[in-house]
Symmetry: C2
Subunit: 329 residues, 2 copies
DNA sequence: TTGAAAGCGTTACCAG
DNA sequence: CTGGTAACGCTTTCAA
């Protein structure tokens, strides 16, 4: 495999010094127009491209931001990414993304790979496994070296910039809405009980029904939830469902659909899904909108401020969710 | 901001030479166990982490593979990415992803950023804008430098490894199926007429109905397609629809649903969508399955062979699509 | 206007 | 077993 041509080789060919070539290519005022031209032509001819590694090593800056995400199947994380890109695209920075697939090991590896010189800063949503293991030393190691911003999947104990969603309130409000509409036997279903965001949402549910009704909570796999829910519906034990993630939302939807309790509103259902999916379900699903794009935009802007050194203390931002009423509630 | 500690600083603190530190940390046989231990402890204490930039520059290898994708909203590309990850995760390589959002400029920038030292090889699906502009010099520049593999969105004129989908045949077969079921006025709808894959699929449609029926082709935005289709259905001008991408598939679905011609099979519809979406539509949508994960797996394996230098000539692989029959056909 | 040399943080060869 | 030195490809200061 042919290697890229270097400044050194170019300088040999042109019979000038290395520094002259470097300066010419960087349009330095020190170099005469004629040599500049000569060198630039040769550079084009030989398809010279500066070695980024060397440039970055020399300058101590990479102008790239690393984004570490657990998954891109997750529509909310995908929206966050989109928001980040929108902001970063307008700056001199580039983005490189690393997907951990909810694995602790991959997350450690990703952070290591990125943090030691490859990027100027990292935006991370920690993986499920990391939240279970509660081992955050790979993130602690970054302190004071690579600026870190946590988004959505936060670790409280690490001091860094954070952008979160008001999970507790979002579900609290949604469930309250169900209550005020006369629902008095509301089940909560969750496939994300391992995640802090899942726990917060569950707390919001509990707070909303406190002293009013018994809590009915189903956690586990999509299949498990669908089955349990079908039974509860069959036995008329519930009149509403709060689903706190995409998988459980779709499981609940399927159960409700099969039992024919959605169209006639025998059961109210509020869930979390992408707009595309919720609008194409029949009936259209009422969801909690987390405004992922805005979360991403906010994160990127905050990180840019951090990189500009205008910030001192770590900053924490919370983005409000809203209920997007459709036809299942 | 505190900088990472370097070998040099460590050597000063420990009062040994730079090379001793380097060797000790790399477990060289040349260093005594006692000094090794002393140095490693200090390294841990000071949270030493090797500067990847320097290591890579020195070794001329990065052990990372760049994946340049136009979008991750596209479920097929997301599946490809998943496939790539599955294979690469088992190797010493890392993946970094760059999203171009279908923009030519961003693609050029991404390829530039990655190709000059940051990655050992690149997997790319070119952006829509690039296919329209037909300017591929940023990819040509890579020849012989950074191994390049094109996936799905191929540029024929660039010699490199390629993994494609049999777009022509996929649609040809699907439309033939519709014909054999007695549909004799089949419309094709497309939001991706700018893409080569879109053009191939359209050709497949034309070939299938040739000498049998007139072609009815609607291209454009999702909204446009939905409106036009609604009219054609209203006027009973068509009895089947072949939609060749997710957007047009959903537009067609909405039109068919509104006109109540889906449940009773007055209109047959075959489209392209993710499994999750197609299975949650009512009625469930018959789709063409492109086996994205397999495409990704195949791509990654091929690239690994290329990196192992066991290949000489560029290799081209085609993955067959299959019709996943559900309830709209 | 040009060039020599130091240095970014590593690794590796060769001497001692 | 340890240390000096060159080199990876580049930028930049200083001298010529």
């Amino acid at each position: 495999m042919k290697k890229n041509i270097t400044i050194k080789e170019l300088s040999k060919i042109l019979e000038v010094s290395i520094s002259t070539v470097s300066k010419a290519l960087n349009d330095s005022y020190e170099i005469s127009d004629s040599t500049k031209q000569r060198i630039k032509e040769a550079a084009k001819l030989y398809n010279y491209k500066p070695n980024k590694l060397a440039v970055n090593l020399k300058s101590g800056k990479t102008n790239t931001i690393g984004v570490v995400l657990p998954s891109i199947k997750n529509f909310f994380l995908a929206r966050i990414l989109r928001g980040i890109e929108i902001v970063i695209a307008k700056t001199q920075y580039n983005i490189i993304i690393s997907i951990t697939n909810e694995s602790y090991e991959k997350e450690v590896q990703s952070v290591q790979t990125l943090s030691n010189g490859l990027v100027d800063a990292i935006i991370i949503a920690v993986s499920e496994e990391t939240q279970i293991k509660k081992n955050f030393s790979h993130l602690r190691g970054l302190e004071g070296e690579t600026p870190l911003l946590m988004v959505d999947r936060i670790v409280d104990s690490i001091p860094c910039d954070k952008v979160q969603v008001d999970d507790f309130n979002a579900v609290f409000n949604a469930v309250n809405q169900l209550v005020s509409e006369g629902r008095n036997s509301i089940a909560l279903v969750s496939c994300i009980d391992n995640l802090n965001v899942g726990k917060s949402r569950t707390k919001g549910y509990k707070a909303a029904i406190k002293n009013k009704q018994e809590s009915i909570i189903i956690k586990g796999s999509e299949e498990h939830i669908e089955k349990e829910l079908s039974q509860l519906i069959e036995l008329q034990k519930i009149d509403a469902i709060m689903a706190i993630d995409q998988e459980s939302s779709l499981a609940a939807f399927r159960a409700g659909k099969k039992k024919k309790v959605l169209n006639n509103r025998a059961i109210s259902l509020i869930g979390y899904t992408s707009t595309v999916i919720s609008e194409h379900l029949t009936p259209q699903l009422t969801t909690i909108n987390q405004h992922g794009k805005r979360v991403g935009i906010t994160s990127a802007k905050l990180l840019l401020e951090r990189l500009d050194n205008v910030l001192d203390e770590p900053k924490s931002v919370i983005i409000n969710s809203t209920v997007q009423k459709r036809l299942t509630s």
